[in-house]
Protein backbone atom coordinates (compact mmCIF):
# COMPACT_ATOMS: atom_id res chain seq x y z
CA UNK A 1 0.00 0.00 0.00
CA UNK A 2 1.47 3.39 -0.96
CA UNK A 3 2.13 5.63 2.01
CA UNK A 4 0.42 8.57 0.22
CA UNK A 5 -2.89 6.72 0.00
CA UNK A 6 -2.87 5.27 3.49
CA UNK A 7 -3.78 8.44 5.39
CA UNK A 8 -6.60 9.14 2.95
CA UNK A 9 -7.93 5.60 3.28
CA UNK A 10 -7.60 5.73 7.04
CA UNK A 11 -9.47 9.02 7.10
CA UNK A 12 -12.20 7.61 4.86
CA UNK A 13 -12.49 4.51 7.02
CA UNK A 14 -12.74 6.65 10.13
CA UNK A 15 -15.29 8.95 8.51
CA UNK A 16 -17.56 6.14 7.39
CA UNK A 17 -17.06 3.94 10.45
CA UNK A 18 -18.22 6.76 12.68
CA UNK A 19 -21.43 6.74 10.61
CA UNK A 20 -21.80 3.01 11.21
CA UNK A 21 -22.74 1.74 14.64
CA UNK A 22 -23.34 -1.70 16.04
CA UNK A 23 -25.67 -1.62 19.03
CA UNK A 24 -26.09 -4.42 21.53
CA UNK A 25 -28.85 -3.59 24.00
CA UNK A 26 -30.54 -5.50 26.82
CA UNK A 27 -33.46 -4.66 29.08
CA UNK A 28 -34.24 -6.78 32.12
CA UNK A 29 -37.17 -6.37 34.51
CA UNK A 30 -37.82 -8.33 37.65
CA UNK A 31 -36.20 -11.29 39.32
CA UNK A 32 -35.37 -14.45 37.30
CA UNK A 33 -37.76 -17.33 37.94
CA UNK A 34 -36.62 -20.48 39.72
CA UNK A 35 -37.60 -23.78 38.12
CA UNK A 36 -36.79 -25.72 41.27
CA UNK A 37 -39.07 -23.62 43.45
CA UNK A 38 -41.83 -24.01 40.89
CA UNK A 39 -41.38 -27.78 40.88
CA UNK A 40 -41.67 -27.83 44.68
CA UNK A 41 -45.21 -26.35 44.59
CA UNK A 42 -47.86 -29.05 45.00
CA UNK A 43 -51.42 -28.52 43.74
CA UNK A 44 -54.12 -29.35 46.34
CA UNK A 45 -51.52 -29.09 49.09
CA UNK A 46 -49.47 -25.85 48.98
CA UNK A 47 -51.26 -22.86 50.48
CA UNK A 48 -51.28 -19.24 49.40
CA UNK A 49 -49.43 -18.26 52.56
CA UNK A 50 -46.67 -20.78 51.87
CA UNK A 51 -46.27 -19.49 48.31
CA UNK A 52 -46.00 -15.88 49.50
CA UNK A 53 -43.44 -16.96 52.07
CA UNK A 54 -41.35 -18.86 49.51
CA UNK A 55 -41.68 -16.74 46.36
CA UNK A 56 -42.51 -13.30 47.72
CA UNK A 57 -45.04 -10.90 46.25
CA UNK A 58 -46.31 -11.68 42.75
CA UNK A 59 -46.00 -9.08 39.97
CA UNK A 60 -49.69 -9.36 39.15
CA UNK A 61 -52.69 -10.38 41.25
CA UNK A 62 -56.29 -10.85 40.15
CA UNK A 63 -59.36 -12.14 41.93
CA UNK A 64 -61.99 -13.76 39.76
CA UNK A 65 -64.98 -15.93 40.65
CA UNK A 66 -63.64 -16.80 44.07
CA UNK A 67 -60.14 -17.66 42.90
CA UNK A 68 -56.82 -15.83 43.36
CA UNK A 69 -54.60 -15.65 40.26
CA UNK A 70 -50.91 -14.91 40.84
CA UNK A 71 -48.36 -14.13 38.12
CA UNK A 72 -44.62 -14.01 38.78
CA UNK A 73 -42.94 -12.37 35.78
CA UNK A 74 -39.42 -11.79 34.51
CA UNK A 75 -38.84 -9.88 31.27
CA UNK A 76 -35.63 -10.09 29.23
CA UNK A 77 -35.40 -8.13 25.99
CA UNK A 78 -32.36 -8.27 23.71
CA UNK A 79 -31.96 -5.88 20.79
CA UNK A 80 -29.01 -5.98 18.38
CA UNK A 81 -28.68 -3.84 15.33
CA UNK A 82 -26.49 -2.01 12.84
CA UNK A 83 -27.12 1.66 12.08
CA UNK A 84 -25.82 3.55 9.06
CA UNK A 85 -25.98 7.28 9.51
CA UNK A 86 -25.28 10.40 7.51
CA UNK A 87 -23.47 12.66 7.88
CA UNK A 88 -20.85 10.43 9.51
CA UNK A 89 -20.07 13.19 11.99
CA UNK A 90 -22.77 14.73 14.14
CA UNK A 91 -23.43 18.28 13.00
CA UNK A 92 -23.16 21.30 15.26
CA UNK A 93 -26.95 21.19 15.67
CA UNK A 94 -26.69 17.55 16.76
CA UNK A 95 -28.39 16.24 13.65
CA UNK A 96 -27.51 12.82 12.25
CA UNK A 97 -29.92 10.98 9.98
CA UNK A 98 -30.18 7.20 10.25
CA UNK A 99 -30.76 6.08 6.69
CA UNK A 100 -30.55 2.36 7.28
CA UNK A 101 -30.96 0.23 10.36
CA UNK A 102 -30.82 -3.54 10.44
CA UNK A 103 -32.32 -4.83 13.62
CA UNK A 104 -33.08 -8.07 15.41
CA UNK A 105 -34.91 -8.07 18.74
CA UNK A 106 -36.27 -10.70 21.03
CA UNK A 107 -38.39 -10.15 24.12
CA UNK A 108 -39.03 -13.02 26.50
CA UNK A 109 -41.47 -12.72 29.35
CA UNK A 110 -40.95 -15.71 31.56
CA UNK A 111 -44.10 -16.31 33.59
CA UNK A 112 -45.26 -18.47 36.48
CA UNK A 113 -49.06 -18.61 36.93
CA UNK A 114 -50.62 -19.92 40.14
CA UNK A 115 -54.34 -20.27 40.88
CA UNK A 116 -55.70 -20.61 44.42
CA UNK A 117 -59.22 -21.63 45.43
CA UNK A 118 -61.44 -19.90 47.99
CA UNK A 119 -59.84 -22.01 50.71
CA UNK A 120 -56.43 -20.55 49.81
CA UNK A 121 -55.02 -23.84 48.52
CA UNK A 122 -53.17 -24.09 45.22
CA UNK A 123 -55.42 -25.51 42.50
CA UNK A 124 -53.10 -25.38 39.51
CA UNK A 125 -49.72 -24.05 38.40
CA UNK A 126 -48.02 -23.37 35.06
CA UNK A 127 -44.63 -22.12 33.94
CA UNK A 128 -43.52 -20.52 30.67
CA UNK A 129 -39.80 -19.96 30.17
CA UNK A 130 -37.62 -19.14 27.17
CA UNK A 131 -35.78 -22.11 25.66
CA UNK A 132 -32.52 -20.22 26.03
CA UNK A 133 -33.06 -19.36 29.66
CA UNK A 134 -31.51 -21.12 32.59
CA UNK A 135 -31.58 -20.18 36.28
CA UNK A 136 -28.83 -17.75 37.22
CA UNK A 137 -25.68 -19.27 38.64
CA UNK A 138 -24.73 -18.08 42.08
CA UNK A 139 -21.00 -18.71 41.79
CA UNK A 140 -20.17 -16.85 38.58
CA UNK A 141 -17.41 -14.24 38.66
CA UNK A 142 -18.01 -10.55 38.03
CA UNK A 143 -14.71 -10.09 36.19
CA UNK A 144 -11.34 -11.67 35.49
CA UNK A 145 -7.78 -10.40 35.18
CA UNK A 146 -5.44 -11.84 32.56
CA UNK A 147 -1.67 -11.94 32.44
CA UNK A 148 -0.42 -12.84 29.00
CA UNK A 149 2.77 -13.43 27.07
CA UNK A 150 2.93 -13.47 23.29
CA UNK A 151 5.42 -13.94 20.48
CA UNK A 152 5.13 -13.19 16.76
CA UNK A 153 7.19 -13.66 13.62
CA UNK A 154 6.96 -11.12 10.83
CA UNK A 155 5.75 -12.68 7.58
CA UNK A 156 6.24 -9.56 5.52
CA UNK A 157 7.20 -5.93 5.81
CA UNK A 158 5.45 -3.25 3.82
CA UNK A 159 5.96 0.42 3.16
CA UNK A 160 8.53 2.77 1.76
CA UNK A 161 11.64 3.09 3.93
CA UNK A 162 12.98 6.06 1.96
CA UNK A 163 16.14 4.53 0.64
CA UNK A 164 14.23 1.38 -0.37
CA UNK A 165 11.20 -0.59 0.74
CA UNK A 166 11.31 -1.80 4.33
CA UNK A 167 11.22 -5.34 2.99
CA UNK A 168 14.61 -4.70 1.33
CA UNK A 169 16.15 -2.78 4.23
CA UNK A 170 15.35 -5.27 6.95
CA UNK A 171 15.03 -9.01 7.34
CA UNK A 172 11.97 -10.71 8.90
CA UNK A 173 12.04 -10.25 12.63
CA UNK A 174 10.11 -11.09 15.74
CA UNK A 175 8.03 -9.45 18.43
CA UNK A 176 7.59 -10.49 22.05
CA UNK A 177 5.61 -8.90 24.81
CA UNK A 178 3.61 -9.03 28.00
CA UNK A 179 0.08 -7.88 28.56
CA UNK A 180 -2.52 -7.26 31.21
CA UNK A 181 -6.22 -7.63 30.49
CA UNK A 182 -9.44 -6.89 32.37
CA UNK A 183 -12.36 -9.05 31.31
CA UNK A 184 -15.74 -7.96 32.67
CA UNK A 185 -17.66 -10.36 30.37
CA UNK A 186 -16.53 -13.36 28.29
CA UNK A 187 -16.95 -11.50 25.01
CA UNK A 188 -14.84 -8.43 25.81
CA UNK A 189 -11.39 -7.83 27.30
CA UNK A 190 -9.69 -4.48 27.75
CA UNK A 191 -5.94 -4.73 27.19
CA UNK A 192 -2.69 -2.97 28.06
CA UNK A 193 0.44 -4.38 26.48
CA UNK A 194 4.19 -3.79 26.20
CA UNK A 195 6.30 -5.24 23.42
CA UNK A 196 9.81 -5.51 22.05
CA UNK A 197 10.27 -5.96 18.33
CA UNK A 198 13.45 -6.51 16.35
CA UNK A 199 14.21 -6.57 12.63
CA UNK A 200 17.82 -7.33 11.61
CA UNK A 201 19.24 -4.93 9.05
CA UNK A 202 20.01 -6.05 5.53
CA UNK A 203 22.24 -4.86 2.68
CA UNK A 204 21.24 -3.42 -0.68
CA UNK A 205 22.97 -2.20 -3.82
CA UNK A 206 22.37 1.46 -4.55
CA UNK A 207 24.07 3.27 -7.44
CA UNK A 208 26.97 0.87 -7.36
CA UNK A 209 27.46 1.16 -3.61
CA UNK A 210 26.75 -1.40 -0.95
CA UNK A 211 24.47 0.07 1.69
CA UNK A 212 24.26 -1.85 4.98
CA UNK A 213 21.48 -0.97 7.41
CA UNK A 214 21.67 -1.60 11.15
CA UNK A 215 19.07 -3.47 13.20
CA UNK A 216 15.72 -1.88 13.98
CA UNK A 217 14.61 -2.18 17.60
CA UNK A 218 11.10 -1.16 18.59
CA UNK A 219 9.73 -0.72 22.13
CA UNK A 220 5.97 -0.43 22.32
CA UNK A 221 3.19 0.39 24.76
CA UNK A 222 -0.38 -0.11 23.56
CA UNK A 223 -3.94 -0.31 24.81
CA UNK A 224 -6.89 -1.88 23.13
CA UNK A 225 -9.86 -4.18 23.20
CA UNK A 226 -10.36 -7.82 22.30
CA UNK A 227 -13.75 -9.22 21.29
CA UNK A 228 -14.16 -12.99 21.39
CA UNK A 229 -17.06 -15.34 20.86
CA UNK A 230 -17.48 -19.13 20.79
CA UNK A 231 -17.13 -20.82 17.41
CA UNK A 232 -20.62 -22.27 17.87
CA UNK A 233 -21.93 -18.77 17.22
CA UNK A 234 -20.82 -19.06 13.59
CA UNK A 235 -22.48 -22.42 13.16
CA UNK A 236 -26.03 -21.22 13.89
CA UNK A 237 -25.77 -17.50 13.39
CA UNK A 238 -29.31 -17.22 11.98
CA UNK A 239 -30.85 -18.96 14.99
CA UNK A 240 -31.42 -16.04 17.35
CA UNK A 241 -32.25 -18.28 20.30
CA UNK A 242 -28.84 -19.89 19.89
CA UNK A 243 -27.12 -16.50 19.56
CA UNK A 244 -28.74 -15.39 22.81
CA UNK A 245 -27.86 -18.61 24.57
CA UNK A 246 -24.23 -18.39 23.50
CA UNK A 247 -23.66 -14.69 24.07
CA UNK A 248 -25.85 -13.79 27.01
CA UNK A 249 -25.73 -16.90 29.11
CA UNK A 250 -22.01 -17.52 28.81
CA UNK A 251 -20.19 -16.66 32.04
CA UNK A 252 -16.61 -16.08 33.03
CA UNK A 253 -16.34 -19.18 35.18
CA UNK A 254 -17.21 -21.54 32.33
CA UNK A 255 -15.68 -19.70 29.35
CA UNK A 256 -13.79 -22.62 27.77
CA UNK A 257 -13.30 -24.17 24.35
CA UNK A 258 -12.55 -22.65 20.97
CA UNK A 259 -13.38 -19.00 20.37
CA UNK A 260 -12.62 -16.67 17.49
CA UNK A 261 -11.35 -13.22 18.36
CA UNK A 262 -10.78 -9.80 16.89
CA UNK A 263 -8.44 -7.39 18.59
CA UNK A 264 -7.54 -3.75 18.01
CA UNK A 265 -4.79 -1.85 19.79
CA UNK A 266 -3.22 1.57 19.53
CA UNK A 267 -0.33 3.21 21.32
CA UNK A 268 3.19 4.50 20.98
CA UNK A 269 6.34 2.88 19.69
CA UNK A 270 9.92 3.98 20.37
CA UNK A 271 12.42 3.08 17.67
CA UNK A 272 16.15 2.86 18.16
CA UNK A 273 18.70 4.72 16.04
CA UNK A 274 19.19 2.76 12.83
CA UNK A 275 22.74 3.09 11.60
CA UNK A 276 23.81 2.89 7.98
CA UNK A 277 27.12 2.06 6.31
CA UNK A 278 28.23 2.78 2.78
CA UNK A 279 30.79 0.27 1.52
CA UNK A 280 31.60 -0.60 5.13
CA UNK A 281 32.07 2.98 6.27
CA UNK A 282 29.69 4.42 8.86
CA UNK A 283 27.48 7.08 7.23
CA UNK A 284 25.35 8.31 10.12
CA UNK A 285 21.82 7.21 11.07
CA UNK A 286 19.14 6.28 8.58
CA UNK A 287 16.49 6.92 11.25
CA UNK A 288 16.86 8.69 14.57
CA UNK A 289 15.19 7.35 17.66
CA UNK A 290 11.79 8.88 18.35
CA UNK A 291 8.24 8.08 19.46
CA UNK A 292 5.57 7.24 16.88
CA UNK A 293 1.90 6.37 17.02
CA UNK A 294 1.21 2.74 16.25
CA UNK A 295 -1.81 0.56 15.74
CA UNK A 296 -2.55 -3.08 15.14
CA UNK A 297 -5.46 -5.31 14.16
CA UNK A 298 -5.36 -8.98 15.00
CA UNK A 299 -7.69 -11.88 14.27
CA UNK A 300 -7.35 -15.47 15.26
CA UNK A 301 -8.43 -18.44 17.30
CA UNK A 302 -8.10 -19.03 20.99
CA UNK A 303 -8.70 -22.06 23.14
CA UNK A 304 -9.98 -21.30 26.61
CA UNK A 305 -9.15 -23.39 29.61
CA UNK A 306 -10.27 -23.00 33.20
CA UNK A 307 -7.00 -21.34 34.19
CA UNK A 308 -6.35 -19.34 31.03
CA UNK A 309 -6.15 -19.54 27.28
CA UNK A 310 -3.85 -20.15 24.33
CA UNK A 311 -4.24 -18.24 21.09
CA UNK A 312 -2.85 -18.05 17.59
CA UNK A 313 -3.50 -15.20 15.20
CA UNK A 314 -2.39 -12.96 12.39
CA UNK A 315 -1.68 -9.27 12.98
CA UNK A 316 -1.48 -6.25 10.72
CA UNK A 317 0.69 -3.59 12.34
CA UNK A 318 1.30 -0.02 11.27
CA UNK A 319 3.73 2.51 12.75
CA UNK A 320 4.03 6.17 11.79
CA UNK A 321 7.05 7.12 9.66
CA UNK A 322 10.37 7.13 11.48
CA UNK A 323 12.22 10.37 12.04
CA UNK A 324 14.87 11.25 9.48
CA UNK A 325 18.44 10.50 10.49
CA UNK A 326 21.73 12.24 9.94
CA UNK A 327 22.70 10.46 6.73
CA UNK A 328 22.82 12.12 3.32
CA UNK A 329 20.94 9.14 1.86
CA UNK A 330 17.19 9.27 1.22
CA UNK A 331 15.70 8.76 4.69
CA UNK A 332 12.26 10.26 4.03
CA UNK A 333 10.34 7.15 5.03
CA UNK A 334 6.65 6.29 4.94
CA UNK A 335 4.70 4.31 7.51
CA UNK A 336 6.22 1.03 8.65
CA UNK A 337 3.81 -1.86 8.20
CA UNK A 338 4.19 -5.48 9.10
CA UNK A 339 2.15 -8.65 8.93
CA UNK A 340 2.92 -10.91 11.87
CA UNK A 341 1.96 -14.46 12.72
CA UNK A 342 2.11 -15.56 16.29
CA UNK A 343 0.50 -16.77 19.42
CA UNK A 344 0.53 -16.61 23.14
CA UNK A 345 -0.60 -17.88 26.48
CA UNK A 346 -2.56 -16.17 29.20
CA UNK A 347 -3.39 -16.96 32.79
CA UNK A 348 -6.60 -15.65 34.32
CA UNK A 349 -7.45 -15.07 37.95
Amino acid sequence: MKADLRPLLAGALLAFSSGCHIDILRFRTGVPLDREKFAALEPRKTTRGEVLEELGAPQKVEWKSGKDYFWYLHSDKVDTGVRFQFPPFRTVAGYQQTFLRLNEASEDTNAMELVFGEDGVLERKSLRMSEAYNPPRQDTDDWKLHLSAHGDYSLMLLGDGGLADYDDLFKPGYRVGLGLGWQPVPVCTLLARTSYQEHPGDSIENQGQEISVGDLHLYGLEIGVRLAAPLSLLRDFTDYENVKRVLFEDDLSRSTGFRFYLEGTTGVMLNSNVTVKINGTRAGNLYDNAYQFSGALEAGLEYGLKWGAAHIGITYQTIDPFDKGSTRLDDDAGAFQAVLLGGGLSVKF
Partner: protein, 131 residues
Protein backbone atom coordinates in the same frame (compact mmCIF):
# COMPACT_ATOMS: atom_id res chain seq x y z
CA UNK B 1 1.16 18.24 13.11
CA UNK B 2 1.41 14.62 12.16
CA UNK B 3 -1.49 13.22 10.19
CA UNK B 4 -2.05 10.57 12.83
CA UNK B 5 -2.70 13.27 15.42
CA UNK B 6 -5.34 14.71 13.12
CA UNK B 7 -6.92 11.29 12.78
CA UNK B 8 -6.90 10.88 16.55
CA UNK B 9 -8.58 14.26 16.98
CA UNK B 10 -11.21 13.35 14.38
CA UNK B 11 -11.81 10.08 16.21
CA UNK B 12 -12.37 11.99 19.42
CA UNK B 13 -14.91 14.27 17.73
CA UNK B 14 -16.68 11.45 15.95
CA UNK B 15 -17.29 9.41 19.07
CA UNK B 16 -20.60 10.57 20.60
CA UNK B 17 -19.49 9.73 24.11
CA UNK B 18 -17.64 7.20 26.23
CA UNK B 19 -19.93 5.89 28.96
CA UNK B 20 -23.30 6.73 30.45
CA UNK B 21 -24.52 5.64 33.86
CA UNK B 22 -28.00 6.48 35.02
CA UNK B 23 -30.47 5.59 37.73
CA UNK B 24 -34.20 6.12 37.94
CA UNK B 25 -36.44 5.49 40.93
CA UNK B 26 -40.21 5.31 40.89
CA UNK B 27 -42.51 5.70 43.90
CA UNK B 28 -41.57 5.65 47.54
CA UNK B 29 -39.27 3.07 49.02
CA UNK B 30 -40.81 0.40 51.22
CA UNK B 31 -39.31 0.34 54.68
CA UNK B 32 -38.45 -3.23 55.81
CA UNK B 33 -38.80 -2.16 59.44
CA UNK B 34 -42.34 -0.87 58.91
CA UNK B 35 -43.18 -3.91 56.80
CA UNK B 36 -42.12 -6.19 59.65
CA UNK B 37 -44.74 -4.52 61.86
CA UNK B 38 -47.59 -5.61 59.57
CA UNK B 39 -49.06 -8.67 61.30
CA UNK B 40 -51.86 -11.11 60.66
CA UNK B 41 -55.17 -9.81 61.99
CA UNK B 42 -54.19 -6.13 61.69
CA UNK B 43 -56.83 -3.65 60.47
CA UNK B 44 -56.53 -1.91 57.07
CA UNK B 45 -56.09 1.47 58.73
CA UNK B 46 -53.04 0.19 60.60
CA UNK B 47 -51.58 -1.16 57.34
CA UNK B 48 -51.96 2.20 55.58
CA UNK B 49 -50.60 4.01 58.63
CA UNK B 50 -47.44 1.93 58.38
CA UNK B 51 -46.99 1.61 54.62
CA UNK B 52 -48.95 4.58 53.27
CA UNK B 53 -51.58 4.57 50.54
CA UNK B 54 -51.39 1.53 48.26
CA UNK B 55 -50.58 1.94 44.55
CA UNK B 56 -53.27 -0.57 43.65
CA UNK B 57 -56.30 -2.21 45.31
CA UNK B 58 -57.45 -5.63 44.18
CA UNK B 59 -61.19 -6.06 44.63
CA UNK B 60 -62.90 -9.36 45.06
CA UNK B 61 -66.10 -9.42 43.10
CA UNK B 62 -68.17 -11.63 45.33
CA UNK B 63 -71.87 -11.49 44.72
CA UNK B 64 -72.74 -10.48 48.24
CA UNK B 65 -69.95 -7.89 48.60
CA UNK B 66 -68.76 -6.68 45.18
CA UNK B 67 -66.53 -3.95 46.55
CA UNK B 68 -64.68 -5.94 49.13
CA UNK B 69 -61.02 -4.97 49.16
CA UNK B 70 -59.15 -8.23 48.67
CA UNK B 71 -55.54 -6.99 48.64
CA UNK B 72 -53.40 -3.86 48.76
CA UNK B 73 -50.34 -3.56 46.50
CA UNK B 74 -47.33 -1.40 47.36
CA UNK B 75 -44.49 -1.03 44.86
CA UNK B 76 -41.19 0.76 44.34
CA UNK B 77 -38.93 0.38 41.27
CA UNK B 78 -35.25 1.11 40.76
CA UNK B 79 -33.80 1.09 37.25
CA UNK B 80 -30.11 1.35 36.44
CA UNK B 81 -28.88 2.20 32.93
CA UNK B 82 -25.43 1.57 31.49
CA UNK B 83 -24.26 2.62 28.04
CA UNK B 84 -20.70 2.28 26.77
CA UNK B 85 -19.65 3.69 23.42
CA UNK B 86 -16.62 2.64 21.45
CA UNK B 87 -16.03 4.16 18.00
CA UNK B 88 -18.56 1.99 16.20
CA UNK B 89 -19.59 -0.60 18.76
CA UNK B 90 -22.07 0.37 21.45
CA UNK B 91 -23.35 -1.55 24.46
CA UNK B 92 -26.46 -0.73 26.44
CA UNK B 93 -27.99 -2.36 29.48
CA UNK B 94 -31.05 -1.62 31.57
CA UNK B 95 -31.77 -3.48 34.79
CA UNK B 96 -35.08 -2.83 36.57
CA UNK B 97 -35.89 -4.36 39.94
CA UNK B 98 -38.90 -3.85 42.21
CA UNK B 99 -39.78 -3.79 45.87
CA UNK B 100 -43.30 -5.21 45.93
CA UNK B 101 -45.60 -5.94 48.84
CA UNK B 102 -49.07 -7.48 48.54
CA UNK B 103 -51.22 -7.50 51.70
CA UNK B 104 -54.23 -9.82 51.56
CA UNK B 105 -57.33 -9.28 53.71
CA UNK B 106 -59.92 -11.80 54.88
CA UNK B 107 -63.70 -11.41 54.77
CA UNK B 108 -63.59 -9.29 57.94
CA UNK B 109 -61.10 -6.84 56.44
CA UNK B 110 -58.22 -8.05 58.58
CA UNK B 111 -54.72 -8.94 57.33
CA UNK B 112 -54.70 -12.57 56.21
CA UNK B 113 -51.35 -12.93 54.40
CA UNK B 114 -48.45 -10.68 53.41
CA UNK B 115 -46.27 -11.31 50.39
CA UNK B 116 -43.09 -9.25 50.06
CA UNK B 117 -40.21 -9.13 47.58
CA UNK B 118 -37.68 -6.42 48.43
CA UNK B 119 -34.98 -6.54 45.73
CA UNK B 120 -34.93 -3.01 44.28
CA UNK B 121 -31.48 -2.41 45.72
CA UNK B 122 -30.10 -5.33 43.66
CA UNK B 123 -30.51 -3.47 40.35
CA UNK B 124 -27.03 -3.23 38.87
CA UNK B 125 -24.98 -1.42 36.26
CA UNK B 126 -23.18 -3.64 33.78
CA UNK B 127 -22.71 -5.05 30.31
CA UNK B 128 -25.63 -6.64 28.46
CA UNK B 129 -24.15 -10.12 28.86
CA UNK B 130 -24.46 -12.82 31.42
CA UNK B 131 -27.47 -13.72 33.48
Amino acid sequence: MKFSLIIAALAAFSAPGCAVLGRAQKDHRISPERLAEVKKGMAKEDVTRLLGAPQEIIFSNKEHDPLREHAYVFQHATTKYTAIFFLFLNFGNQDEKHDRVVVFFDDLGRVDHVGATLVANTAAYGFPFGR
